[in-house]
Structures are given as structure tokens and as C-alpha cells.
């Protein structure tokens, strides 16, 4: 891995300020959640834009709604992004996606894995999530789950950080830390896209 810093800067100073290390420590499972049009995808792409400057990301597109043009507008370097389409295995797509992520992490191919689970109904198997967390820690990577509000497909014990996103204007978002094991819970930041 190219990164040696203990934490990953999100590229959003207001958000970084919430964490003692001025960024999210590596090895975390993060859930970004919000309602329809809340801005969660915009926030995610902003994070990816910053991360793909130095690292490689994998986007596991369960919802099949990833729009590379929008990612490029957000600043994501598409040459440093892999898109995984588990839909090609419709019978076992969740497991396929998780296994693929685990392999990418195990081989230190990527620095961040994104699970786009918007619209997904199936609860993720806890066995595979445990393994994923272990691999994320070992690879000093980040795993981000993008979910819809109240979807509850990520068992609450698994994510070490949950960011709930609310839109506060056409280009402003409020980010609430509704759960955190790495900093104080209940804090919030307003970020400009």
C-alpha cells in the first residue's frame, strides 16, 4: 500500500475535523446511509475522488446504478476504479460480491471497497462480514457500505462508523455520526459538495 498515514483524509475538512486523527483510521467498516436524494451518493463519490488520487478503489455495484460519468464529474479518477458487477451471478450475488471484495483486499489490490447496497433487501451474512472486517484490518483498507435509511441489512455490530446524510441545500449536506467506535458519537458536520 502506498499510504503510510494512520488515517485516510476524506478531503472534506469539516468531516475530517470530527475525527481525532483528522481522518478516518484505516481498517474500518463504514456505513453511509440516508434516504432517497439525501446526498449519500454525492458524499461517497467525494470521498472516492479524494482517495483515488493516491489509491485504488473497487465499487461493488449491487444496485446496478453506478454512473461513471457522474463519478468523473465528482473528481473520481476512473482509471483507478474497478467496478464489480455481482449481478452476473443472480443466484448468489451477495455472496459473490463479498467474496470478490475479500479477495481484492487479501491481495492488497485496492485501498477501499465500496458496497453499493441501495435498494438491496438481503441481509449480508455475518460470517462473511466478519471475514471482510478481518481482511480490511489486515490490508489497512476501508470498506464502505452505502445503504438506504432503516434498511438494516448491515448488522449493527459490524460497522464501526455510521454516517447518516441529510441534504441541507442543493450543494450542502449534513453528516451525522450516529454510531462511532473511533470518535464521539452524535456529532455532525455540514459539508459543501
Amino acid at each position: 500500500m502506498a499510504e503510510t498515514a494512520p488515517a485516510f483524509s476524506t478531503g472534506l475538512p469539516e468531516l475530517d475535523a470530527l475525527f481525532p486523527l483528522r481522518g478516518i483510521p484505516y481498517g474500518q467498516l463504514i456505513e453511509i446511509t440516508g434516504g432517497v436524494s439525501s446526498g449519500k451518493t454525492s458524499l461517497l463519490l467525494k470521498l472516492l475522488a479524494h482517495l483515488t488520487r493516491t489509491g485504488v478503489a473497487a465499487y461493488i455495484d449491487f444496485s446496478s446504478t453506478f454512473f461513471p460519468s457522474a463519478a468523473a464529474v465528482s473528481g473520481v479518477d476512473l482509471t483507478r476504479l474497478l467496478v464489480v458487477k455481482p449481478d452476473s451471478r443472480p443466484t448468489d450475488r451477495v455472496k459473490t460480491g463479498l467474496r470478490t471484495a475479500e479477495l481484492l483486499l487479501r491481495n492488497q489490490t485496492v485501498n477501499v471497497i465500496v458496497f453499493d447496497l441501495v435498494g438491496e433487501k438481503q441481509v449480508l451474512p455475518i460470517v462473511l462480514l466478519h471475514r471482510l472486517r478481518l481482511k480490511t484490518v489486515r490490508a489497512r483498507a476501508l470498506t464502505i457500505f452505502l445503504t438506504e435509511n432503516n434498511s438494516e441489512i448491515i448488522p449493527s455490530s459490524m460497522a464501526s462508523l455510521r454516517l447518516e446524510v441529510l441534504r441541507s441545500g442543493s450543494d450542502r449536506l449534513k453528516v451525522h455520526l450516529t454510531k462511532s467506535r473511533i470518535c464521539r458519537e452524535g456529532t455532525q458536520a455540514e459539508v459543501l459538495l
Partner: protein, 508 residues
Amino acid sequence: MTGERVACLLAPDFPVAVCLRADPSLRLKPAALAENDFDAAPIIAVNHAASRAGLLPDMTLAQAGTLCPGLVVRVREITREIEESNAIFKKLQRFSPFVEETSPGKFFLDAAGLTLLHRSEAAFAARIIAAIRPLGYPVKVGIAKNRFVAETAARVSGAVPYTIIPSGRERTFLENLPVADLPLSPETRAMLHDLGLKTIGQLAAFPANEMTRRFGREGTALSRLARGDDTDATFSPAEPSDDELSNEIHLVSPIYTAGAVTSYVRQLLSPLLGALGKFSRGCGCVTIMLELDNHTQQNLPVTVERPTLSVSRFLRQLLPLLAGFKLSAGVTGIKVTIPEAATLLSEQLAFSSNEKISSPERTIDSDLIYVPQLCAAILPEQKFSLAPFSPRNTDRRPRTMEDRQPADGLRACVMGNVSGLRLLQPPRRIEITTTDSRLREAGIGRHRQPIRRYHGPWELSGGWWSVDFNRLYYEIQIGDDRSSSHRQLYLVFFERTSSRWFLQGIFD
């Protein structure tokens, strides 16, 4: 627990266990299992009662019948063995996402990290055994740092249902075991005996370079195994040589029966697949060439459903081929060839953390992973393509100015932020009610909702030379207008050619 851990589940004497499960009354009678019911057929295994009568594996049925007149002989049922093995395989998939079946009755599970769920490896092993026990097989479990030690631990565990070898204790565990527990060829076994090497510990103490000099690659691999280091021996990135992919036999007198041919194929195929396993590879197809005494040849390609190291799986496919194949003349020679070594169990991922892959497509199926590329197009859904991942196209950069401005057609968006657009593919049919050319209600989701605000239209048309399209794009907002947190912003279009409304994307 740190590092890689592998669990091996072994069903000892699996062919016999399958037979006994089908007919439990055989437990009380002297019984033997053979490949076929010819007098010259060798016995594969005997039960306890037959063993007490002096019967041993490798005796012919004629010899066994003489020693024990009341002997019950059962012919091995390969199909049933595979079915039963598949049932165990399915159960094991509940315990680990990576399960490999190297032969019916022998399974390897990636056990790294599972103590988070099962508290300890002992609890993990106990749960596996408890899950398999209802299937009726007395299984053994070994857990260690690598496959060889895990398998050996399972095999030598005796009355103990599971054995766990902590990382770093592999050599200590192996040192008192006989060298026969290593995967040896008969020639090597005889030479080791001549050298006075009786235990694995003695072999481990033997200089490695001397082992290589005397036994070649097999010596190198044995030396590593004896030291408890299975990594290179099992997950070697090297490819097997052509010599290791074919095996043949020339017969003094011709044979005329399918049973005899099958028996010889087993003898020829077993070492080939065993050698392939050392490279962590399998195969999905073998070619069997029969030389006939009328100076002709017959080729029989045998394929199985997935790459494997199981001889039985190939024999199951071979038997119907031979049944429908009339031997026009006696068979005087048999050659078994593996045309191509394949990745073992393609739906599974090899579980070696030491295998650093520079190209993930080696282990991830290429139909899963893509690199996004921008395209110059008018319609949003055509503005990008997903190319199958290859190291060559990861450095591809946009080449034209149009590529660099991928979302020009969408920059007119005023309510939603184009950077968060989620695109539906294909666009989803929706209902929108209009009055006097004004948008009123949208049927997105279960209910129709009033459209609070909208912007548009923007027209996109063209494509008369391929697919004609003429779209009027709108951004619409539904939901509570007072609270921005409840607004839902969508990109919709009206397709004039079909007079239908479609949902193109969601601003998020």
C-alpha cells in the same frame, strides 16, 4: 489467531462408509468393497469382520473368497460416493466461504478469522463435526497452518474427533510420524528406507540440498513438507511439465472388457492428478487413447462438470462412454493425457495469502470485474462502457475533449447535483400525469405523488441511423417541499417516439 489457517475434514474410508450407510447390516458380516466383481479384481477395503478373517486390501476377490467363503462383496458405487460427498460439501459451505473438495470425502476449508464467530478453533471443529454427523459419516477434523499438516492431523487423530496444531508447532507435530505419512512414490519410499529415514523428523533433519540432489523436485517438496512448510509444495505458481500430464501403459495380452479398461485408467490417472495437485491445479478434461490390436486407435475425451482432482469423478463419466463403446478389438495399450491444467474449482478462490496476484482476474472470474470508460455519446446510458478488467486497460485515459466532459448533457441540472446521479439501466417505465403541458403527478414507487417542482424540458434527439430517440428531459421533485431532507429528486424523460414516460435516474 494470526496468519492463515486451514481446516481439513476427512471421512476415513469414504467408499466403505458410503457402502455401510446404504446397507448397515454389512457391519456385522465380513464384507469387502471392490472396483468390480471379476475374480481378479482387487479389494479396495474390508470391514472389521473381514479383517478378522484375514482379508486385506489389494487381495483379489478369488483369494478373498477362498479365505472367507461367507464374504459379502459390494462393487464400489462411484455415483453414490459423489452424491454423498456433494451433500457434505454443501453443509461445509455454511462454515466457511472457501471450501475445496480435493476428492470425495476429503475437504479443505479456509479457517482464517473464524474464531471471531466460534470463540476458538476447537469450537469451530466441534461444530463442523456436529453438522456432518447426522449424515452418518464418522469424520475427523484437523486444523493447522497449511493443508498437509491439517490433513495429517485429521488422519492420525485416532479416537479424537479433531486435532488442532497451533501455528509454529507443525514440525514438532510431524517429527514422530512415519515417513509413510508423506505423499511418496513407491520408489522414493524404498530409497528412504534404504537411507534409514523412518520418521518425518529424521527426514526434516536431512539436508534439503541433499534431498533435492537425490530425489529432484520430489525431494525438495518432501523436505519442505517434513518441516511443516506446505506453502510452496501446494501452492506453487509453477506449471506442471508436459511429462507430468500424460501416462501410458502397454499390455502384454489384450483386454476386452470395460471393467478392465476402467481399472487401468484409474491406475494411470491417479498419479497424474496427484502430481497436478502439487501445483494447486486440477483439470476438467482428460483424453484416453486406446491402442487396439488391429493397429487402430480410439480416443475418448472425458469431461467433468468442474476442474477437480478426483479420479472418481472422471471414472463416473468414463463408464457410460465405455458402455456405449463396442470394443471392436482387444486393447493393447492405454494412454491418459491431461490436455490442460485448470484452476481448481473455478467458482472458488484459492486460499493462499502468500499468492500475491498482480492481476485479480486470475482468481476472480472475468465476468465480474470491469474498468469504467467514458464514451462520447448523447444519451446518458451510452456515455460510458464497462470493459472487462485487464491490466492493459487500467491506464487508459480519456482521449477526446468529449470524453473529458462526460456529463455535458446533464450540466443543465438545476435542482439535483449531477455528481450524485444514480442511473437506472435500462430506464424504468413510470406514469406521469400532465395538465395543460404541466407535470402534476408522478407514479414512482407504490403511490402516485404530486410533483412539487420541476425544471425542463431539455431535448435530446437523434440516432435516426440506428435507434431513433427523441427525449424531453425533466428534473422533478416530489415529497415534502418544506423540508429539504424529504425531497426526492428524479431525472425523467418523455420519449416522444413511443409517448411514454421513463425514469432515467435518481439524484442522490
